[in-house]
């Protein structure tokens, strides 16, 4: 029996993935559950297991290709009667590819993609608009005649999602013009922002260029950050923490944590201090539900830690930071960061964050502008800790001492909290970091 293996629904609104590697060749015999390809969805790579035992008959995808949910990846000549009696192929693949599915609980809930089989009714031009705005037509409520989705429906949906209507394509712009000359000249010459991909040009009016498809992590990052920036009114607040004492403490216990399999970085302490501040200021551990006009306060503390990888910025999430010891956090952080760098972190490890920490310090820099990890309400950035002369005392009696100073920046959603809250929030973190003994009391 021939079995088509389709890309299963990945959940979490993800509707496509990039093929990273195909692990089998046509003619290979595979066993049910044996990995047959590696797929990268938004930010995680996953090995996809074979849905049946059998022989690979046909491989329809190549590495580098972006495939949509439901696309046929490969076909198998399945073996055995048990398989022939199995439920329809799609269900088989869904079931077996459990690893790809969204985690059943945990993480904030997003409206699931209702994968209705029937495509929604809409004119092709409306489909183009939806495609340009990145809107899934199946999620748009239709208002047109005969249950059709109209362009207005798509625009309204986009606004609800906080997406700005894209700049009109050259064709659309041309349509606005009366000038007959422009009509014939423009459309073919100026490439529209087409997802189908334009021919790669070698130069523009100012010099040589190279066009590279926006793919994979870069693409996910671009979409996500654009949304965050468009939707969230960002304000940032900065201060400096004196971590001289804390660093001494850190160096003292470094070796011991290393033996336990972790790395005692300053991040671990900042995580702990942040979670204490999040508990005191719940507005920083929240999100906005725009449709119901409500603030959703999260009563769990999952902190994403931005990791710089050669594929781009990836943010694995450390769960329940409030319930883990410094030692546990140091071990977990090292493990997840290393796996993330190797592309081995699981998809569910990237989801469900309530707050994010980003540390540019290792590469230098004192002040920067972190962008909030939508739909969270705040992000904490760490600059580079530097030994600096600090003046103590007053004008009459003072001394200058070398101290280790850590710049901290919090960017926050001004819809939920105000600058004064941010000052207090950051103040509490600094207080904890500057007084390791107090840190003990708050964590």
């Amino acid at each position: 029996m021939s079995v088509e293996f389709r890309l299963p629904d990945l959940g979490e609104g993800i509707h496509e993935g990039e093929i990273v590697e195909v692990l089998v060749s046509v003619g290979d015999r595979v066993l049910d559950g044996q990995p047959v390809m590696v797929i990268e969805t938004d930010k995680a790579t996953t090995e996809v297991p074979a849905p049946v035992s059998g022989v690979v008959k046909e491989i329809r995808v190549k590495p580098g290709e972006v495939v949509k949910v439901g696309a046929v990846l490969m076909t198998f000549e399945a073996e055995g009667r048990a398989v022939a009696a199995a439920p329809p192929e799609k269900d088989v693949s869904r079931e077996k590819a459990g690893g790809l599915e969204a985690p059943p609980g945990g993480g904030e809930t997003r409206p699931a993609v209702t994968a209705s089989k029937e495509p929604p009714a809409a004119a092709p031009s409306t489909r183009r608009l939806a495609r340009e705005l990145g809107i899934d037509l199946r999620q748009v409520a239709p208002s047109g005649p005969g249950g059709r989705v109209t362009p207005e429906d798509v625009r309204r949906h986009a606004e609800l999602q906080g997406r700005k209507p894209a700049a009109p394509s050259p064709q659309a712009a041309v349509a606005e013009e009366e000038a007959p000359v422009a009509r014939t000249a423009a459309p073919e010459a100026a490439p529209a922002p087409s997802p189908a991909g334009e021919p790669l040009g070698a130069c523009d009016p100012h010099g040589a260029i190279e066009r590279v498809p926006l793919r994979s992590v870069r693409r996910a990052t671009a979409k996500h950050l654009a949304r965050a920036w468009a939707e969230i009114p960002h304000v940032s607040h900065q201060d400096v923490a004196d971590i001289t004492e804390l660093d001494a403490f850190r160096r003292k216990h470094k070796a011991e944590i290393r033996e336990a399999g972790g790395a005692l970085n300053m991040i671990v302490f900042v995580l702990k201090a942040a979670v204490a501040a999040l508990k005191a200021f719940p507005g920083f551990n929240a999100s906005i539900d725009p449709e119901r006009e409500e603030i959703v306060f999260k009563r769990y503390y999952n902190i994403g830690v931005a990791v710089d990888t050669d594929r781009g910025l990836i943010v694995p999430v450390i769960r329940d930071v409030d319930r883990k010891s410094v030692r546990e956090l140091a071990v977990e952080l090292l493990d997840v960061a290393e796996r993330t760098r190797r592309g081995k972190a699981e998809r569910e490890e990237m989801t469900g964050g309530t707050f994010t920490l980003t540390n540019i310090g290792a590469l230098g820099g004192t002040a920067f502008t972190p962008i909030i990890n939508h739909p969270q309400s705040a992000i904490l950035g760490m600059g580079q800790a530097r030994l600096q002369p600090v003046v103590r005392g007053d004008l009459e009696r003072h001394e200058i001492v070398p101290r280790l100073l850590l710049p901290l920046i919090v960017a926050f959603d001004h819809r939920i909290v105000d600058g004064a809250d941010a000052a207090r929030f950051l103040g509490m973190i600094i207080e904890a970091l500057e007084n390791p003994e107090e840190l003990l009391l708050v964590i």
């Binding site: 004119a123 092709p124 183009r128 041309v174």
Partner: protein, 326 residues
């Protein structure tokens, strides 16, 4: 510049090309002494003599076959089929020889002939005198299929057809032959074969047609403007094959809507190909299904029912409005 009917404009093209080039010859039934059934070849035999304006027997296959032979040996025959409804008798000659001789001989022989034929309904004619079967020719690789819509473009296209190195089928809409006059410049004018023309600018809907139905189409475009305030863009194909899809696909990218009009029967007619090109090239710009206003899949009726068959202004208006209100 003189105002001319299409008949006079075609006569002018033939006269001037024959004056300019000795290898151009005209042949067909009654094209000589009688000056042709619609007087298209009137006066040519007096000017150029019976060696270059040849009255042939009533034998379409022979007319086409002789033309192919003349063309292969260096002449540029312009043969006339007295009504397109009889050119099927020449179909074998054109399909099996004229259209493929260049290919068959790997380029050694060319067939620079033109087959003219009055086509289409609207003049209350007999059976076999009103059909619109351009699809037969357009579907034949190796042939070009040209259909003018007005005196001026008929003249310019015929000059291009005569000079074309390959066989061209040139259908003349007889409903337009004497329907109106248009300024036709005395000086030479050509229109390249294989290029369509934008005859009216608009932004709301694209009307695509050619030949005789261009006139109800243009009338419908004016009425849409007057009555509905709708700006229709109108494209005249001029050449049915090879089909120039760049202009109309571009236009539909702007308007999002298309109505195409021809009097040929609907199924497998030229309109079907135009719809296919629009779907291939302008798909994501379409805001409504593409409408076709065509003849029906029946033999064109005799004169009492002919008007029901022809795509008239009202049918075009209705289709345009449906498309616009989709």
């Amino acid at each position: 510049m003189a105002k001319m009917t299409m008949v006079q404009a075609i006569n002018l093209a033939l006269t001037q090309e024959m004056e300019k080039d000795d290898s151009v010859v005209v042949l067909g039934e009654d094209v000589g002494v009688d000056g042709g059934v619609f007087r298209v070849t009137d006066g040519l035999i007096g000017k150029f003599g019976p060696e270059r304006v040849i009255d042939t027997p009533l034998a379409e296959s022979g007319i086409a076959g002789i033309s192919i032979g003349m063309a292969v040996y260096g002449l540029k025959p312009v043969c006339e089929m007295q009504f397109s409804g009889f050119d099927y008798l020449a179909f074998h000659q054109l399909e099996s020889h004229a259209a493929r001789l260049r290919w068959r001989s790997q380029g050694r022989f060319r067939v620079p002939m033109v087959m003219r034929a009055p086509y289409g309904g609207g003049v209350r004619a007999l059976e076999h005198h009103s059909e619109s079967r351009e699809a037969y020719w357009a579907h034949t690789p190796g042939l070009k299929m040209v259909i003018p819509s007005s005196p001026r473009n008929a003249r310019a296209l015929l000059v291009s057809a005569i000079r074309d190195p390959d066989p061209v089928v040139f259908y003349e809409p007889k409903a337009v032959y004497r329907a109106f006059r248009e300024e036709v410049p005395e000086a030479e004018e050509t229109i390249p074969i294989g290029r369509s023309q934008l005859v009216r600018e608009g932004r709301d809907v694209t009307l695509i047609s050619y030949g005789a139905t261009m006139h109800p189409v243009l009338e419908a475009a004016s009425l849409l403007k007057e009555r509905d305030g709708v700006e229709a863009e109108v494209v005249d194909l001029l050449t049915v094959s090879p089909l120039d899809d760049s202009l109309f696909t571009q236009s539909v990218k702007k308007t999002g809507r298309a109505v195409l009009v021809h009097e040929a029967p609907r199924s497998f007619g030229p309109g079907a190909e135009i719809v296919a090109r629009l779907v291939e090239k302008s798909f994501l710009y379409l805001e409504a299904p593409i409408a076709r206003v065509t003849g029906f899949d029946v033999i064109i009726p005799l004169y009492q029912r002919e008007r029901e068959y022809m795509p008239g202004t009202e049918r075009i208006l209705r289709a345009a409005r449906e498309t616009l209100s989709f």
